[in-house]
């Protein structure tokens, strides 16, 4: 009986974990009230699998993207554009970062640009040593973007998602600039 119960708990664990998987930060809509313009892009499992059929097999970049997208459970983009600088606070950004302050999330990229005030953080979620999700928080003086990619992702294919589905391209060349701190 105890074995059966344990087995049931083990089987239920991944389901529970998936159920707790967050898509959009619960209080992110507060930023809409401050923003001049808000853009939300939502693509979930069935839509993603269907969409992958329309990425061109002849274009090598799109073909790689299609392969990657087939296994994803969701792509969620929230982008806020503000009238003026400092329209959103550091606390607003910290609240977004706080969501990934747990052991399964690792901050892998952090770009701080003193020159143009662009701050980008990329977090990876690891499950059984495999990447299970990515969160990107890009904060510019008049723009704030939150991207959540849910599902298994091959790190090598990650860059291919930039420029598709409203996900901004990650400019890796900026990491070479000398204006970071």
């Amino acid at each position: 009986m105890r074995k059966t119960l344990l087995l049931m708990l083990l089987l239920a664990a991944p389901i529970t974990a998936r159920a707790q998987e967050f898509k959009i930060p619960p209080n992110i809509d507060r930023l809409s009230a401050k923003a001049k313009e808000t853009v939300e892009v939502t693509m979930e499992g069935p839509m993603l699998r269907w969409a992958s059929k329309f990425l061109s097999a002849e274009d090598p970049e799109e073909a790689k993207c299609a392969k990657l997208v087939q296994n994803l459970r969701g792509i969620y983009v929230r982008s806020f554009e503000f009238d003026k600088e400092s329209a959103y606070s550091n606390e607003d950004v910290e609240q977004l970062r706080a969501l990934v302050h747990s052991p399964e999330w690792t901050r892998v990229v952090g770009v701080r640009s003193v020159h143009d005030g662009e701050n980008v953080d990329v977090y990876f979620k690891l499950e059984n040593d495999k990447m299970a999700g990515i969160i990107v928080i890009a904060a510019e003086p008049k723009e704030l973007t939150f991207v959540n990619i849910v599902g298994p992702i091959d790190v090598d294919q990650l860059a291919d998602l930039g420029g598709e589905f409203g996900i901004p391209r990650l400019d890796t060349s900026s990491a070479k600039k000398g204006d970071r701190r």
Partner: protein, 164 residues
């Protein structure tokens, strides 16, 4: 010699058939239109020969277009209520795709998709301070690729095109 009215009659017949076929599968579109009418106390405008005009003036890559325009509409810019309203009206198979809210223009654009087989149906609900439109259409493969690549920009293009 053929009557000069024959091609006109033929075209009219084709358009009428197309409209009849569209009407058979437009309960979701009607549901959204009725929901807006019931909740905001407005009626969509009757536009004479709308089906005929849309048959010839539809945007590239678009087919099976249905359109409802509401004038004297009063929209405060509060998008949550209308989002629930639209989502409750749409049945299964419709997915939220893009939502654009512009505070400066008190404008909200909601875009939902219904993918099936090689087609994608798209429903766009645009709400402005004094006007609202509901558009449903089928997208060609090329148009789908454009929407998938830059959904936010495509929604913006649609919004600005509508404003013009």
């Amino acid at each position: 010699m053929k009557s000069p009215t024959a091609p006109v009659l033929l075209i009219s017949l084709v358009v009428l058939c197309a409209i009849t076929v569209a009407n058979a599968s437009d309960h979701e579109f009607k549901g959204v239109v009725h929901a807006i009418e019931a909740n905001y106390g407005v009626h969509h405008m009757h536009i004479p020969l709308l089906g005929f005009a849309m048959f010839f003036a539809r945007p590239e890559g678009v087919s099976g277009m249905k359109l409802a325009v509401f004038e004297n509409f009063h929209f405060s810019g509060e998008s949550e209520h209308v989002t629930h309203l639209i989502e409750d009206s749409l049945g299964e198979g419709w997915f939220p795709f893009v939502k654009v809210r512009s505070k400066a223009d008190s404008e909200t654009t909601l875009i939902y998709t219904n993918p099936s087989g090689g087609k994608m149906r798209m429903m766009i609900v645009s709400l402005e301070a004094t006007e609202a439109t509901v558009v449903e259409f089928n997208l060609s493969e090329r148009s789908i690729q454009g929407w998938l690549k830059e959904p936010g920009e495509m929604a913006d293009d649609h919004r600005h095109h509508h404003l013009d």
